[in-house]
Symmetry: C2
Subunit: 217 residues, 2 copies
């Protein structure tokens, strides 16, 4: 029955999912400063987000502030972190251990957001069989076999552009159901595979363009 | 006169700036495969973007395909890379050399997109005075003095949440006019400072949410 579906498992609007981590970062900071309550007006001022928008976003969590007092900071931080999945353990593999993939393998900060990278895959003979900060690197051809025994939730795709779709197909065949795509390629997958695109190079294009436009003003 | 403003220095719509790197990745791949011409219909099929949208996006570059033949692949790749600023040299500093900042310092791939990281800044005594893959790390208090002599274009912000605004103020005071913000904090700057936000943790929230929603279907 649709009514019993928890909000956690609803597909939330992407703008809401982008704002919730801002709220979390802010209330975690307040929590460290031992602030006990926070109003949506305060959050609104700190983050330049409309306060009715904040109330609407937070209503997805079934959390409500008290009149005049606002939200309880510590429990709001906890609820937000849980809701966003940051307190769970998600097992991930990095496919393509080049400069970006290697950097992600070394970013221990990701584990604080619920992401544990448990293996890397590549084709480079100088990498296969080695490890990076303790995480083993295997040959990509062993992915399906590895996945059968180890069950990763997420594949982080950081391969060269020309291999992006081919490797995506290997990931899909292995049974991994979510791909975090760091390549600038529009990869194609069956509908039941989740894709999130993070093209940091596209963000560079945005900065360069805005810098030039600003300099012209 | 507004008419003499080149399109390069126009503030382009963000969705266009997000799509142009997809086109670039695709035509660069075709170029490596020695394909000579490509039509917007072909690009459309490969990337699942409407072909009229592609023609509109590419019109910002003053580049037009020929009827029946399409675009010349090599020159389209070159024009796109130039237009996006990927063939220029932008000098950047990384502020906050923790796990993410350190990872960015090590990502040599960024230089292929026109970004040269020339220095890092931190407060950690075990980092200050050292270097990472040849890039020197200085104390954050030396930023203004360093910038006066070295003139970076972009500050990459990767500090802990609680220092994000304070360090942003130091960056602004130093005279750097663009900030690539990797923190989940909504930083505030004067209007003439360009900000681009890349919260990779927000993308994780999106993946987790979509995974759960997909698993429920």
């Amino acid at each position: 029955m649709i009514e019993t579906k928890t909000t956690q498992h609803m597909a939330l609007p992407e703008p809401t999912l982008r704002r919730l981590p801002w709220y979390l970062a802010y209330v975690k900071m307040l929590d460290r400063q031992h602030v006990v309550h926070v109003s949506s007006t305060q959050i609104s001022k700190a983050l330049s987000v409309d306060s009715s928008q904040i109330a609407k976003d937070l209503s997805f969590l079934n959390i409500r502030g008290k009149t005049r007092i606002g939200y309880e900071v510590h429990s709001l931080a906890q609820t937000l972190a849980d809701f966003l999945g940051f307190t769970q353990h998600h097992r991930a593999v990095v496919i393509g251990v080049g400069s970006l993939g290697g950097a992600l393998l070394r970013d221990v900060g990701l584990s604080q957001y619920g992401l544990n990278i448990v293996a890397g895959f590549d084709t480079n003979p100088s990498l296969v069989g080695s490890d990076i900060v303790g995480t083993p690197i295997y040959h990509i051809d062993r992915l399906a076999e590895w996945q059968h025994e180890n069950k990763a939730d997420i594949a982080i795709l950081a391969v060269p552009v020309e291999h992006a779709q081919e490797v995506t197909d290997q990931v899909v065949d292995s049974g991994i159901k979510a791909i975090w795509n760091f390549t600038p390629v529009r990869i194609k997958t069956p509908a039941d595979v989740t894709i999130a695109n993070t093209s940091i190079y596209a963000h560079l294009a945005i900065i360069y363009n805005r810098m030039n436009a600003n300099a012209e003003v």
